[in-house]
């Protein structure tokens, strides 16, 4: 893969973080293909099982975002920090693995705490340069009182 292509994929990942950080869901979805699927998964050493914590297609994500303002939610903003580790070209797609850290900043006083760590496992359409699949694989499972907006 040439450097320009890799840089474009990296920028796609980073733009997805910026869009979600800014709660600009339209911008986030504009980075996603029509076939987009989003999941949050993690492994529980307590029950020794893989768990799915969220799983939506593009329509499901749109609905999730639409319903957000109807719910009572924690308004502390999140900051996603991603570092693209590997990009592997596989035919018309690229498999992209990125490290993810999510920070939460309290509205009152502005204290920032590490909220979660994990990895993005993205599938990117090389032709469209869009996200086809995002699997957020969390290491962190203790998320306090939770959050409504996906990572």
């Amino acid at each position: 893969m040439n450097i320009e292509k890799r840089k474009a994929i990296e920028e796609l990942v980073y733009r997805s973080c910026l869009a979600l950080d800014g709660q600009d869901y339209k911008a986030f979805l504009s980075l996603c293909d029509e076939s987009f699927r989003y999941s949050i998964c993690t492994y529980s050493p307590e029950i020794r099982r893989e768990m799915v914590w969220l799983d939506h297609d593009r329509k499901g994500m749109e609905t999730l975002f639409t319903n957000l303002p109807r719910h009572n939610s924690d308004h502390s903003p999140l900051t996603r920090h991603a570092t693209v580790y590997t990009v592997e070209e596989k035919g018309a797609e690229a498999e992209v693995v990125s490290a993810l850290q999510v920070f939460k900043t309290q509205l009152d006083g502005g204290a920032t705490e590490l909220f979660a760590v994990g990895r993005f496992h993205d599938t990117v359409s090389l032709q469209k340069l869009k996200l086809e699949r995002r699997l957020v694989r969390l290491e962190t499972r203790l998320l306090g009182y939770g959050y409504h907006i996906p990572f």
Partner: protein, 405 residues
């Protein structure tokens, strides 16, 4: 008109059974007493049998009274519970939250125990102890343990406490018909919240807070039958909530839950609150179990489990997981709201915050917005603690602890 300091301090205009002094949620001394009087003699859910399906499978559990436990399936398939404390020098015996161990060996000095709690090896025993101390003297401390009510593993730290069936009584009758098939845990997570554990149980004991949930307002609260749901109190502080028909398709992005639950009417929903801090919540296609583990007067871990049927096909399980996550997952619509609610209470109900009174005064013929569930809980709380919840330090006139109306 807003209240003056004196008006704020004044006792609410309700019977004493219908409000609680906020110090029951904040005082360290009361919390320490709760561990002794509520948690030690009560039966507590440690885990589910599906978490330890094979012989020698074990699961660790931090008991709400503070005792670390190992729950292990023995070579004879019997589930037993022991202190996770080496009788030698008090080290932790098992560290990982779950696993499979034929021998339970303390890493410190390699003392080993079998799955029945017997000590089977003391390193260089004869040289050190001669005939003064042997393996029989070094057994693990066993804790009473029963598997019941849907395959859950219950433990009790008090050797002479009443049996589990006696403790539960008929409170679980409403759910027993739906727990006849083997179940399996597919979801587990903890929430760490700076709040008192009772506030979580209170939330599970009143449905007036459906106003908090957009999802519930749309799918349940505005639907026929909602106000027919009734609370029933049982001895020992347990309570149940009757069913209704949830209209899941009223929430955009949700849909009618096709997978259902054997014997349960489509869209049905039953709850059983078990004293002092557990809840069974069977909602259409998923059984959720909450276990509150207090860490201090204003700090608690809530364990959440989601269960389906062991016989589920891949598609059925996928649908149950989806249904669960929609409202009860860590990113679900309702769980975050409920936890945010008790987090807010934890912020406001602090020592010196002058929160003063918590009202439990709604009376609606025991129906869904009646606060009788909480009143029933605090009547039992008062009986066990020997303190009325409305006046825990008996600063008012002395008298017997009163039962809730």
């Amino acid at each position: 008109m807003a209240k003056t300091a004196a008006q704020w301090e004044a006792k609410p205009k309700f019977p004493e059974t219908h409000y609680v002094d906020s110090r029951v949620y904040t005082d360290e001394a009361i919390f320490e007493e709760e561990k002794e009087k509520l948690f030690k003699p009560s039966w507590i859910i440690a885990c589910h049998e599906s978490e330890m399906a094979a012989p020698y499978d074990y699961r660790l559990f931090k008991h709400p009274a503070g005792v670390p436990l190992i729950v292990i399936r023995g070579d004879d398939n019997k589930v037993r519970a022991f202190y996770n404390i080496c009788p030698h020098r008090g080290n932790t015996i098992l560290y990982d939250p779950a696993g499979n161990a034929k021998r339970l060996t303390c890493i410190f000095h390699q003392w080993s125990f079998d799955s029945r709690g017997n000590c089977i090896d003391i390193s260089r025993a004869e040289q050190g102890y001669q005939q003064r101390f042997c393996k029989e003297d070094a057994a693990m401390r066993e804790v009473r343990c029963e598997v019941a009510f849907g395959g859950f593993v219950w433990v009790n730290l008090t050797d002479d406490a009443p049996a589990l069936r006696e403790f539960i009584g008929s409170a679980m009758d409403i759910l027993e018909p739906y727990m006849q098939q083997p179940m399996e845990v597919f979801h587990y997570h903890k929430a760490h919240v700076r709040t008192n554990f009772k506030l979580w149980h209170d939330t599970n004991s009143e449905f007036y807070h459906d106003y908090l949930h957009y999802f519930n307002r749309i799918t349940g609260m505005m639907q026929p039958g909602y106000f027919d749901r009734k609370y029933t109190g049982f001895p020992n502080g347990h309570a149940t909530v009757g069913s209704m028909q949830i209209q899941y398709d009223k929430y955009e992005g949700s849909k009618e839950r096709a997978v259902g639950w054997p014997g349960l009417a489509r869209g049905g929903w039953y709850m059983v609150d078990v004293f002092p801090g557990m809840t069974y919540n069977l909602r259409t296609s998923v059984l959720r179990i909450d276990t509150a583990i207090p860490l201090g007067p204003n700090e608690a871990i809530i364990e959440f489990r989601g269960l389906g049927l062991k016989s589920d096909t891949e598609e059925e399980r996928r649908q149950r997981v989806f249904d669960h996550n929609m409202i009860w997952g860590p990113f679900g619509r309702n769980l975050h709201e409920d936890l945010l609610g008790v987090h807010g209470q934890g912020r406001a109900l602090r020592k010196d915050s002058d929160a003063r009174w918590i009202l439990q005064g709604r009376e609606e013929n025991n129906t869904i917005h009646d606060e009788v569930g909480m009143r029933h809980y605090y009547a039992e709380w008062a009986r066990r603690m020997g303190r009325p919840a409305y006046d825990p330090y008996r600063e008012g006139k002395p008298g017997p602890v009163r039962a809730a109306a």
